[in-house]
Amino acid sequence: MSSSGCPVIEVKDLELGYHDHIVLHDLNFSVNKGDIFVVMGVNGCGKSTLLKSLIGLNPPLKGKVIYDGKSFWDEDEAGQHNIMHRFGVLYQSGALWSSLTVAENVALPIQLYKKGPPREIQEKVALKLSLVGLEGAGDLYPAEISGGMRKRASLARAIALDPDIIFFDEPSAGLDPINARKLDDLILELRDSLGATVVVITHELPSIFAIGNNSVFLDSESKTMIAGGDPKGLLANSNDVRVTGFLTRARIEG
């Protein structure tokens, strides 16, 4: 499946920060349906701050985040919840609820919003776990599984409600190259099978080039986006030394 050209997320004049401290400003970009959209940049450039604003955790200082024509931060609580039900989020640490088993973690969103008899919920949970290759791990607690399994379990929870949009915060962080590659393949697979739009926050170059078809590059010094588009295209055509330096791991003097 490829990008359809129809924007699912539009970010307009977004300014983010905490109190008087501005982290990012003048952000303008859109994510099309079916995109795997990469938010990239060096450590501390504000990638996670941007993600928190996109998923409804941190209100922006100004500007809009628009989902299918609805401005998220201008909606009332019920409207925001309706938009949030379309998300799935995979957090950097996995963020599995530690007091619940893997299966219970995946089941909770379904119990809350889809209801249905317990057997039907169990079947859905088993399906989601098999999609991420975690058959048989449902009865284990998060503390009993490896980092890679935790990420996959968290992904199973993120897709529990069959979301339109899946956000990934540093999905490859803490994973070895083989598991990171497997997760990249899984992201592509899920995008194709669920028809979802994917937003990935990362600075892992192999992942960026393996899965991304659209992107925005955030710069920590100017505190704004300095480039956007297909990462491979940026690598080939960008004249900005900060972008090419990042994408080629070149040493930048200065």
Partner: protein, 269 residues
């Protein structure tokens, strides 16, 4: 470079602003809890019965042994200390009154509150702090679930339900402690001791003790959960939240005891 020391007034102003911020976030949190309880009453809250029952067990049964031991010892200490003075007047039998009234009216509730604050309040702060640090609370929020409904309300409810039961149990253990010392070491008549206790301890004192315990339950649970939810996202933050949860809880217990005692004094009970 060493930062220049701020003036006295700047530092005082900064502290006052911090206090104001702390108080308003505390009141916001209490407001959220009240609203979530209202949703729970209406059956709209996101509430897992299984989690609640586990919390009830932790707050109640798992704390019972510690409460029993401490209350027994406090009853014994009261009897010992009381006997020293009462012996001067040949009125040792009034140990029963001292132990019975002080345990049932206030001491059982206070001691139980302090134990529960150290054990349960600390665990609430540490758990929620760890959940904050590991983004588990963010995961709830993005699912559209209020963390106050899902995590805080069951904890407050479990502790408020268990505190009066633990306090009644502590009353009995405290009186038993006084009884053991009075009979075993001071050689008082057991029947006379028991009768004195029954005469001294009015039903209103039991109610006053239970009111203390309910108030303490709310204070400990809210303090622990508030500090956990305000936790910074690192290991040091979890430690600070835990300490702060216990300190806030115990300070709240002492302040509430003073207020309730004053109210009882004014009402003449």
């Amino acid at each position: 470079m060493i930062k220049a020391r701020e003036s006295f007034f700047t530092r005082v102003g900064g502290k006052v602003l911090l206090l104001d911020k702390g108080l308003s976030s505390g009141f916001d949190f209490i407001g959220d809890i009240v609203v979530s309880f209202w949703y729970l009453v209406q059956g709209k809250a996101c509430f897992r019965r299984d989690d609640f029952l586990v919390l009830v067990q932790r707050c109640g049964v798992d704390t019972l042994l510690l409460v029993a031991l401490i209350s027994l010892l406090v009853g014994m200490i009261l009897a010992f200390v009381g006997s020293i003075q009462l012996n001067l007047f040949g009125a040792q039998i009034f140990i029963a009154d001292i132990v019975g009234i002080s345990m049932v009216r206030v001491l059982s509730a206070v001691m139980t509150g302090i134990i529960v604050s150290g054990r349960i309040g600390a665990s609430f702060a540490a758990e929620l702090g760890m959940m904050q640090a590991s983004e588990e609370i963010d995961a709830l929020k993005t699912l559209g679930v209020s963390p106050v409904e899902f995590l805080v309300v069951p904890r407050v409810l479990a502790l408020v339900l268990m505190m009066p039961i633990l306090t009644i149990y502590a009353d009995l253990m405290g009186v038993l402690g006084g009884f053991i010392i009075s009979i075993g070491m001071l050689h008082l008549n057991p029947v006379e001791y028991w009768n004195h206790t029954l005469q001294a301890v009015k039903l209103s004192y039991v109610w006053i003790g239970l009111i203390h315990s309910l108030v303490f339950g709310v204070i400990i649970a809210v303090a622990g959960c508030l500090r956990g939810m305000q936790c910074a996202r690192d290991a040091a933050g979890v430690g600070k939240a835990t300490t702060s949860g216990v300190v806030t809880g115990i300070t709240g217990i002492v302040a509430a005891t003073a207020v309730i005692t004053y109210i009882c004094q004014v009402l003449g009970v």
